[in-house]
């Protein structure tokens, strides 16, 4: 570890006010993201997992600077993006690119693929027109597309190809970090692994860091170094991948894994599938947000919000009554 991490998120909070009710009554707000904190080092992958609606996408967008946070900050290479003047913030964004979930929505239907992939270069005024062309062709080859396809429009491509285009757009400016918001979920399973392998190869070749937002634990298992589990806008567990899969500490993580069998990780963990509905993020329950569904809930869980604490073994857990720690942890738990 050499001083400042690539990305450091501190207490990031974002609430969305709901529309006013009929004739001016305020209808409340959605607690989309509450006090998210983590760090991500150069060249590594952090997976942000959770059920849909848990605030993953909000987190990704707030980190990318698309939403102004209500509290907290995002330090990218040691500087707070929100505090930077416009020009500097634009420069900082060069090194942080985003890949979106929906490859049909994230490409402007009125631009050619070449224009889409080359847009970051135009925005950041990189090179001459010819140099940009060459770079676009290069990066398109890099993601397995034919550079001649640059003349065509997005609607002429399949979902997998479109996601490759989106990845090419993110790569063209040679960023250090790619924030990928569910980049696979809109794709067919067979295409998913292709795109995933592409991202892994690119990471190895270019030393990219990934903030990978997903609900798919199988993907997490093959790609992530560390895993952050979110529930109802809050971080409930943050742990190295192997440790998390071997011994989830938060009951929610455990139920999540029980619900989704992960290939190669043996049979389903004996545990209960979460009972009941996810509570509304508009009126989160008092205490731990998971307590209404938690098999290990104690009376204190109903009253007091647990803090995220270091369990001494490399995991951070926010739970009053965590699952027992593993009896044995293999040395060098991170790859």
């Amino acid at each position: 570890m050499n001083g400042t991490p690539l990305l450091r998120v501190e207490g990031l909070t974002r609430h969305f006010p709901l529309g006013h009710g009929l004739f001016g009554r305020r209808a409340g707000r959605v607690h989309a993201l509450t006090e998210l904190s983590f760090t991500l080092a150069t060249g590594r992958t952090l997976a942000l997992v959770g059920e849909s609606g848990c605030g993953k996408t909000t987190a990704a967008r707030a980190i990318a600077g698309l939403y102004r946070p209500d509290a907290g900050r995002v330090l990218f290479k040691g500087s707070d993006l929100a505090g930077l003047p416009r020009r500097a913030r634009k420069d900082a964004r060069r090194a942080m690119q985003m890949v979106f979930q929906d490859p049909f929505g994230s490409l402007n239907p009125r631009l050619t693929v070449g224009a889409i992939v080359g847009e970051p270069l135009v925005i950041h005024r990189v090179g001459t027109r010819a140099e940009r062309r060459a770079r676009v062709d290069d990066v398109m080859r890099g993601v397995g597309l034919d550079p001649r396809d640059g003349q065509r429009y997005p609607h002429e491509f399949s979902g997998g190809q479109r996601q490759r285009i989106a990845i090419a757009r993110a790569l063209v400016i040679e960023p250090d970090l790619i924030i990928a918001d569910e980049p696979l979920s809109a794709l067919d399973v067979s295409i998913q692994s292709q795109v995933l392998n592409l991202m892994k190869d690119l990471q190895e070749a270019r030393g990219l860091a990934f903030l990978f937002i997903t609900h798919d634990l199988a993907v997490v298992d093959t790609f992530a170094d560390e895993v952050a589990v979110m529930y109802l806008g809050r971080l409930v567990e943050l742990a190295p991948r192997d440790r998390l899969f071997a011994a989830p500490r938060h009951p929610y993580t455990r139920t999540l894994m029980a619900a989704v069998p992960v290939p190669g990780r043996g049979k389903r963990a004996p545990g209960s599938i979460p009972a009941g509905e996810v509570p509304s993020p508009i009126t989160p329950p008092p205490g731990c947000p998971f307590h209404p569904r938690c098999p290990r809930a104690l009376p204190v869980c109903r009253a007091e919000m647990p803090e995220l604490e270091d369990d001494g073994g490399g995991s951070f857990v926010a739970c009053h009554n965590p699952e027992p720690p593993p009896a044995f942890m293999p040395a060098g738990n991170i790859r």
Binding site: G19, H20, G21, L22, F23, G24, R25, Y67
Partner: protein
């Protein structure tokens, strides 16, 4: 709701105030001014007299100052005298207003009576021959130049087959109710042809939209009487946008009335506005234009309130969306 109405009334007052200044300024830019008119009517006045008169009437003061003194007087109920009618502006307006209400009211009732059944029927039989004919006629109605339509009606019904009077509200010497009605026929027809066209289109579009909805399809599929579903359930829901649009159209209708009234020398508000603008009757022009603005604003407000009233899904608080 009350808060919303108060807020809107406040906004309307601001628009009226801005509008009054705009019109005041514009009218000052029209050819000639009151002193020029005096000079042209009295050749003995010298340029020195003119300058003195300007000072007396305050016409040499800056625009804003003149406007403010007008506004203060207006707020006190004094809108000045009409130059053409040589009477206080407010005394002149009622007769003209009444005539316009008669003309527009009659036209409105006829238009709605024709437009609703025609629009509903066309929507219920979309793409039928009837629908195509209605559509064609609607387009004709909204595309015809009103002044030319008036001229054509006069040529046909007053010149070629002289059965109807071409101008005024009554024959000289008075002719009773029948005479008054005869004088209304051509202006009302002119005004009505345009509004039938636009209303029918709105009714048809709104009905098509409603008939697409699942609950209507369900009702039809369940075997509810087709006529009942269309004329009761669907029409009731289609009326929401129609009411709004019809209220909004009052402004347009007033413009139509201006041309119609001018063409048929019908002494209504439209003709009053036109004559006062063209006749340098500044006070009258100012007040009548403001009145027209106020009517349009009131119609808009009523439309929005009616919309909120009819459609419980609409909220008027303005919501803050998610913004990048």
């Amino acid at each position: 709701m009350t808060r919303y109405i108060i807020q809107r009334l406040g906004e309307s007052a601001v628009v009226i105030a801005l509008m009054s200044f705009l019109i005041y300024a514009l009218i000052g830019l029209m050819p000639g001014d009151p002193i020029d008119l005096m000079i042209s009517s009295d050749p003995r006045l010298t340029p020195a007299d003119a300058a003195r008169l300007r000072a007396v009437y305050g016409l040499d003061r800056p625009l804003l100052e003149r406007y403010l003194s007008w506004a203060v007087a207006a707020l006190g109920g004094d809108f000045g005298n009409s130059r053409l009618h040589v009477r206080p502006v407010l005394d002149v307006m009622p007769t003209f207003l009444l005539n316009t209400v008669k003309l527009m009211g009659l036209s409105f009732v006829i238009s709605v009576t024709v437009a609703i059944p025609a629009g509903v029927y066309a929507a219920a039989r979309q793409n039928s021959r009837f629908d195509h004919i209605v559509n064609l006629l609607c387009f004709a109605g909204i595309s015809v130049p009103v002044f030319w339509l008036a001229l054509m009606l006069i040529i046909v019904f007053s010149v070629m087959i002289p059965i109807l009077p071409a101008s005024g509200v009554g024959s000289i010497g008075g002719g009773g109710v029948w005479d008054a009605v005869r004088h209304l026929v051509l202006p009302v027809t002119t005004l009505t042809i345009f509004s039938i066209g636009s209303y029918t289109r709105f009714v048809r579009a709104a009905m098509i939209e409603v008939l697409r909805q699942d609950y209507i399809r369900t009702a039809l599929a369940k075997g509810a009487g087709r006529a009942r579903v269309i004329w009761v359930h669907a029409l009731r829901n289609a009326m929401i946008p129609v009411v709004t649009v019809v209220a909004l159209s009052f402004g347009t209708l007033l413009s139509g009335a201006l041309i119609t009234e001018t063409m048929f020398a019908y002494p209504g508000m439209g003709k009053l506005i036109y004559d006062s603008i063209m006749g340098n009757d500044y006070n009258m022009a100012l007040v009548t234009l403001l009145f027209a603005t106020a009517v349009t604003l009131a119609a808009n407000l009523l439309a929005d309130i009616a919309y909120a009233w009819l459609d419980p899904r609409i909220s008027y608080g303005g919501s803050e969306g998610v913004r990048p």
